[in-house]
């Protein structure tokens, strides 16, 4: 990977946000989970363009790595990445949430090429990843599983059941990335249910803890590479901004799941286009 490649990926992440807007539209009918999807765009880029073995022409490729979106409501970020990778045609984006669509409001494995599990009721994806990891290990398969967990999602007890079990089973083929955007559905993570000492918690559950800035693709990629060297379960706490890229939405719970008004939509698009232009000029 060269600096140029990382720069290209940085631009891709901005494009994913434009894809999010294309999905959500501003028709006044549909909401979209903008906040927690926009915070994931660089992470999705690092995974689909750098870290994960994946082949858009063969979504069922036996040797692929698996991405499990445990914070299922943020699946639009995954859809955007899958679309940009060529897993399905662009036209499908505008049909997000429509009846009969390939792109359901939450991940459905039988509906979308590249989606590997059904999630949406929070807290379950890490356990699904654990099951995949156990099966791969038993069959001597080299596939890796990347599970995306929300920082608010760490309220769910099942996350910690899975964390305990993955450590007990000694799995190193399941890697976790926590989208630490600091805000959940109704307010800041620190206010809704103060859940402090997160690194210490993971660490005391037997996990090696890595951290990175969640909007710098190169930093994410390097952290993911460092995780490969861990001979224990490993979690990456990626510091992100909810609503990243659209100034009036950043850091706010009110844009967690939101229907953009046409005038807001236009501003959002302009801001992202300006960001992309700036990256291209760099």
């Amino acid at each position: 990977m060269t600096c140029k490649d990382f720069h290209e990926m940085q631009k891709t992440a901005v494009r994913l946000r434009l894809d999010l807007l294309e999905m959500f539209g501003c028709d006044g009918m549909r909401t979209g989970h903008w906040g927690g999807s926009s915070s994931l765009c660089e992470i999705m880029t690092a995974l689909y363009w750098y870290k994960m073995k994946n082949d858009p022409s063969d979504p069922e490729w036996a040797d692929r790595d698996y991405l499990i979106m445990s914070k299922g409501h943020s699946v639009p970020a995954q859809y955007a990445a899958l679309c940009e990778r060529g897993y399905f045609p662009r036209e499908e984006l505008a049909r997000f949430k429509f009846f009969g669509t390939m792109l359901s409001g939450h991940p459905e494995m039988d509906r979308t090429p590249g989606v590997e599990a059904n999630t949406g009721s929070l807290g379950q994806g890490l356990s699904v990843g654990l099951g995949l990891g156990l099966a791969f290990r038993q069959d001597n398969r080299s596939n890796k599983v990347y599970v995306i967990v929300g920082d608010g999602e760490q309220n769910e007890g099942q996350i910690w059941e899975a964390a305990m079990a993955i450590a007990a089973f000694g799995l190193t083929n399941v890697r976790v990335i926590v989208d630490c955007n600091g805000v959940q559905s109704t307010g800041p993570v620190a206010d809704v249910l103060p859940n402090t000492q997160i690194p210490e918690k993971w660490s005391s559950f037997g996990w090696k803890v890595f951290t990175c800035g969640g909007h710098n693709v190169q930093e994410i990629c390097e952290a993911l590479d460092r995780m490969d060297e861990a001979d224990s379960p490993a979690v990456l706490l990626a510091k992100t901004v909810k609503g990243k890229g659209v100034s009036f939405t950043e850091g706010l719970a009110s844009f967690h799941n939101y229907a953009f008004k046409p005038e807001e939509y236009a501003v959002a698009k302009q801001e992202l286009a300006a960001w992309l232009a700036k990256e291209e000029a760099r």
Partner: protein, 303 residues
């Protein structure tokens, strides 16, 4: 007599010999579900999740995605109630190949009281799209159902009592999902029963015969799917239909038959109440009015 829990463990061992996809998952109750028998023979395919049923259930979904046939087990009340959302989201929406054993089902865990007695598991499982629900009445039937579960894809639930069961079938029994089976001919009334209630319905038939009432007893091992044709055929034009189950009369076998019978159905089982602790299974059945005698009286008073 057969110990249905032992048959669970033994049958999985038998099946695993020819199917390397089978894995057994437990949540610290393997010595009760008898998944421990499997562990002794196939330790590399046995996974202990500790007291964390929800995690076990979603992990089973992950194993199924990777091509395995995981069997998860716990007490029926926990593996359905505590994992309902995991069964729904992780397993059933994706129609995944996860097999669920609700052990110590119904009121069979007599001493442990209402927290440990499942009166709602069949109802919960029956309402889930893609889920199939089976309730064996004896060892041969349980074996046949487990074989079917291992050989066919999709989420399935089997309910296993901890009470020893009288052998109603022999080893040649063939299980056909959806089909109901006449186990006693009769001409005055018909009762559809499953699990331990089949044995009791047969005994009630003997009691009623001495009063000149001829009771047809129909075994219903498969609550979902359930063939309407088979139910109608075995009602055979009789005007009065009964059901008997060791489960709430809401949402289980009684409800399933009532949906198809096209006539009034008298449902015998747990009324709108929880179980209770008792010194023995017999004492609990007596206390809750679930004995063969209670059933015979119920039928007679509603004829």
């Amino acid at each position: 007599m057969s110990n249905l829990r032992t048959i669970y463990g033994e049958t999985l061992i038998e099946l695993a010999a020819n199917d390397d996809k089978i894995a057994v998952l437990e949540a610290d109750l393997s010595k009760s579900t008898m998944g421990a028998l499997f562990k002794a023979v196939y330790p590399e395919r046995f996974y202990e999740f500790g007291i964390a049923e929800a995690n076990m259930c979603s992990a089973a979904a992950g194993m199924a995605i990777a091509g395995k046939t995981p069997f998860i087990a716990s007490f029926a009340v926990f593996v359905t109630g505590r994992c309902y959302d995991q069964i729904r989201t992780s397993v059933c929406i994706g129609d995944l190949n996860v097999k669920i054993c609700g052990s110590s089902a119904g009121i069979s865990d007599c001493g442990d009281g209402p927290t440990h007695q499942s009166i709602d598991d069949v109802s919960l499982m029956r309402t889930l799209p893609n889920m199939q629900v089976f309730v064996p009445c004896d060892g041969a039937e349980e074996k046949a159902i487990l074989r079917y579960m291992a050989a066919n894809p999709g989420p399935m639930y089997i309910r296993v009592s901890r009470v020893e069961a009288k052998d109603i079938h022999d080893g040649s029994y063939v299980f056909v999902p959806g089909r109901t089976e006449v186990v006693r001919e009769g001409s005055d009334a018909v009762i559809f029963a499953n699990g331990p209630m089949v044995e009791r319905a047969l005994a009630a038939g003997d009691i009623l015969a001495s009063s000149g009432i001829s009771l047809r007893v129909v075994n219903v091992p498969s609550i979902k799917p359930l063939s309407a044709e088979s139910v109608i055929e075995n009602i055979g034009g009789l005007p009065v239909v009964f059901t008997a189950e060791e489960h709430s009369i809401y949402g289980g076998l009684g409800s399933a038959i009532a949906e198809l019978a096209g006539r009034p159905v008298y449902r015998f089982g747990m009324p709108d109440r929880f179980g209770a602790s008792a010194e023995s299974y017999q004492a609990l059945c007596e206390g809750l009015h679930l004995t063969a005698r209670d059933l015979a009286d119920y039928i007679q008073s509603n004829l």
